[in-house]
């Protein structure tokens, strides 16, 4: 074995990757943080609040983002992906592919003039396509690094060799259409994978009408709809007529605990549906919510009390019974068909807005990354974790944390990240 490098690579800049990076950096270990997107922050940045404290999500996250950015031991590589891995624990050689940003990182001051002038309108992925962004953009206002990115697929200069307006209006001359994609290599002693999760797409569940009925949305869409920085500026309205919804329904286990889709429990939906109902009630005390569930899996400390509080103080009714069918009336109100298992009655109820609690699923490209890194995936396509040391992957020197190994909530991801950081540090501190 060659030189043992006091350097760790963290793949994925969500809350898990961020926490792992900060832990390592504080121990004096150099961190190479690789993020596929233009900004770090991940899913947590998309959430409005977090349970069970109902704290503002971005308020907790933003200081960590800033810390990551300015920590002398952390190097941030955004727009970057892993292409190849060689070497062994203690001395891995990783090939990185970094997409061009077309904005000079040192020059851009995030003034936003370019955004105002850009003529393109593109579906905003960060806002679950609920609004449009421009071809030059930043995912969200608190995004880190706090600089713009040009989306090559949609920019008129790249698609039609026209426009270049952003270049003209930028006083800092930060636009650089000549930037090229880069490939470079990094040497690290160990690697932490923290690539997070995707959201199950419920269009395939035809009977629930998602994609067909405007007032049936997913829980992550709901987070954006109700978030102050979201497309509605925090004033909850339903998509069909922009009226304020008064009767909400949440349906748990949409595509999870389901052999035909995802057999596993996504572990946090029982909690986040309660949280979302609470936030809605805080916005408007006239809102009444039903949460349809199979079992209420409120297994964390304080979680059961949280649900109790929802029932007592937030006008939430919990109905035991999974919903298989939603229709719509002529006012575009969703009609839910359900059995109330406590009474065995089968009924239909009208709601203003229905939210589907869709589960976390493995990242679409998890299999590909697993192949590059030479680690195993499990039956569901999550990265396979060691049964006794859950932060260990199947390969020595490569560790896992957060929802890329199994669905988990934010507190658990943070704990997991610290665990993975400790394991990764063991390798690089060895010699």
């Amino acid at each position: 074995m060659g030189e043992n490098l006091k350097r760790v690579m963290v793949i994925g800049g969500g809350i898990a990757g961020i926490q792992a990076s900060l832990d390592l950096a504080e121990r004096g270990i150099v961190v190479e943080l690789i993020e596929k997107n233009a900004c770090i922050g991940g899913r947590m940045a998309q959430l409005d609040k977090t349970f069970p404290t109902n704290d503002c999500s971005i308020c907790i996250l933003a200081p960590k983002l800033a810390e990551c950015f300015r920590h002398p031991n952390i190097t941030l590589h955004t727009l970057s992906e892993i292409k190849n891995l060689s070497g062994q624990p203690g001395n891995f050689n990783v090939k990185i592919f970094k997409k061009a940003r077309y904005v000079k990182e040192d020059e851009c001051i995030n003034c936003g003039v370019c955004i105002e002038k850009c003529p393109m309108r593109v579906d905003d992925e960060f806002d679950m396509k609920l609004r449009k962004r421009r071809a030059i953009y930043i995912d969200y206002v608190q995004g880190v690094p706090s600089i713009m990115t040009i989306d090559r697929e949609n920019c008129l200069f790249f698609t039609k060799d026209a426009c270049r307006i952003c270049e003209k209006v930028c006083e800092r001359e930060a636009i650089d259409f000549d930037q090229k994609d880069e490939e470079f290599e990094l040497n690290v002693g160990s690697i932490i994978v923290a690539t997070g999760y995707d959201i199950f797409e419920p269009t395939s569940l035809g009977s629930l009408g998602y994609g067909r009925y405007l007032n049936v949305v997913t829980a992550l869409e709901f987070e954006r709809l109700i978030c102050a920085s979201g497309p509605l500026g925090g004033h909850l309205k339903r998509p069909s007529d922009k009226n304020e919804p008064k009767k909400l329904a949440f349906i748990n286990c949409v595509g999870s605990r389901d052999i035909k889709n995802n057999p596993y429990c996504s572990s946090c939906c029982c909690m986040y549906t309660t949280k979302e109902a609470m936030i809605a009630y805080e916005h408007d005390n006239e809102i009444e919510t039903s949460i349809f569930y199979i079992d209420l899996r409120a297994a964390g400390k304080g979680f059961r009390e949280y649900i109790q509080r929802g029932e007592n103080d937030y006008a939430i009714t919990y109905i035991k019974g999974k919903v298989a069918k939603i229709l719509e009336d002529d006012q575009k109100n969703p009609l839910i068909f359900y059995e109330d298992i406590n009474t065995s009655q089968v009924k239909q109820l009208k709601y203003d807005l229905v939210v589907l609690a869709t589960p976390m699923v493995p990242k679409k490209d998890a299999g590909e990354l697993a192949k590059i890194l030479g680690i195993k995936i499990d039956d569901y396509n999550f990265f396979k974790a060691n049964s006794y040391h859950p932060q260990k992957s199947s390969k020595e020197g490569i560790f896992l944390c957060g929802a890329c190994r199994e669905p988990m909530d934010i507190p658990t991801s943070v704990i997991d990240a610290s665990g993975a950081a400790a394991k990764a540090a063991e390798i690089v501190m060895r010699g």
Partner: protein
């Protein structure tokens, strides 16, 4: 290997005009379909099949053997028969023990099930020939709003039927589109017409039918198209009864999809025996002429 008709009980015994439309349609698109003699009840998946599993398998397997003997695939004119026969085949092909049992019963009448024929619903075969149908259309049924009713046994259980999307079916609507008509979307498209429940409780059966009719009406349908004689009966025979009981005015003409296709292919209305429908189809004929 070519196809022969499996007619079932309802069509030849009660609704022969549906049979003529199917025969004319397949003739017109240039498909020769033979006749298979001596088939028994499939048995009815909503009726006799529920009484005794062993008998269900024995009668179903005998029917399959008849087609094997004449070296023909099954082209079934009824969704119920299709489900029964596909289910029997599924069990015989996947459960060796059951196959042994059934074959020992079949031996009494000198037959053995081998498993070398296929079963298809007639609409499945039409769908496979959709290009040919489009080419042969002489009289597109322009502006005709058709509420397609795929029904249950045409689609489900999908593990056995293995055809179209069981919860979001498309094939019937595509056939309706192929003859120039307008397949309308309506909320209850995928629901049961209620026919099988008639055996146990007529009132419930009619309630199920009414919810479907209501949904079709709201969506502005001119007529109904179905692919199963049980559904056909439910729609054509019971709309009046619903009107009588509930003071409604449902009056949708009901067509077998082969009748609509035959019309679009230019086959004469008299030849099709459309006058045997209980709900008169004149308005539709006027609209398409």
């Amino acid at each position: 290997m070519s196809y022969s008709y499996f007619l079932g009980c309802v069509i030849p015994g009660r609704l022969p005009f549906l049979e003529i439309s199917a025969r004319k349609t397949f003739e017109e698109i240039g498909m020769k379909v033979g006749d298979q003699a001596k088939c028994s009840c499939c048995p009815d998946p909503t009726g006799a099949a529920q009484l005794d599993h062993e008998t269900f398998l024995a009668l179903g397997a005998r029917n399959l053997c008849l087609f094997e003997e004449s070296n023909n695939h099954i082209l079934s004119l009824c969704s119920g028969c299709t489900e029964s026969l596909k289910t029997v085949k599924h069990i015989l092909d996947n459960d060796d023990e059951k196959k042994k049992e059934i074959n020992s019963n079949l031996k009494i009448i000198g037959k053995t099930y081998k498993g070398d024929i296929d079963i298809k619903h007639f609409a499945e075969v039409l769908y496979e020939n959709i290009k040919k149908i489009k080419e042969k259309v002489k009289k597109p049924l322009k502006d005709l709003k058709v509420a397609g009713h795929p029904g249950c046994h045409y689609l489900r259980p999908s593990e056995i039927i293995n055809w179209d999307d069981p919860l979001n079916p498309k094939t019937l609507d595509e056939l309706i589109e192929a003859i120039g008509a307008d397949p309308i979307e309506y909320d209850m498209k995928n629901d049961c017409c209620g026919n099988p429940v008639e055996k146990t409780d007529k009132e419930i059966s009619l309630s199920m039918l009414e919810s479907k009719l209501k949904s079709m009406k709201e969506a502005g349908a001119d007529c109904i198209a179905c692919v199963c004689p049980a559904c056909y009966q439910q729609f054509d025979f019971n709309q009046r009864e619903i009107n009588k009981n509930n003071n409604t005015d449902y009056n949708f003409p009901v067509f077998y999809i082969t009748e609509l296709i035959a019309l679009a292919l230019g086959i004469n209305t008299e030849e099709l025996g459309l006058n045997f429908h209980r709900i008169k189809v004149n308005d539709v004929l006027q609209k398409i002429n």
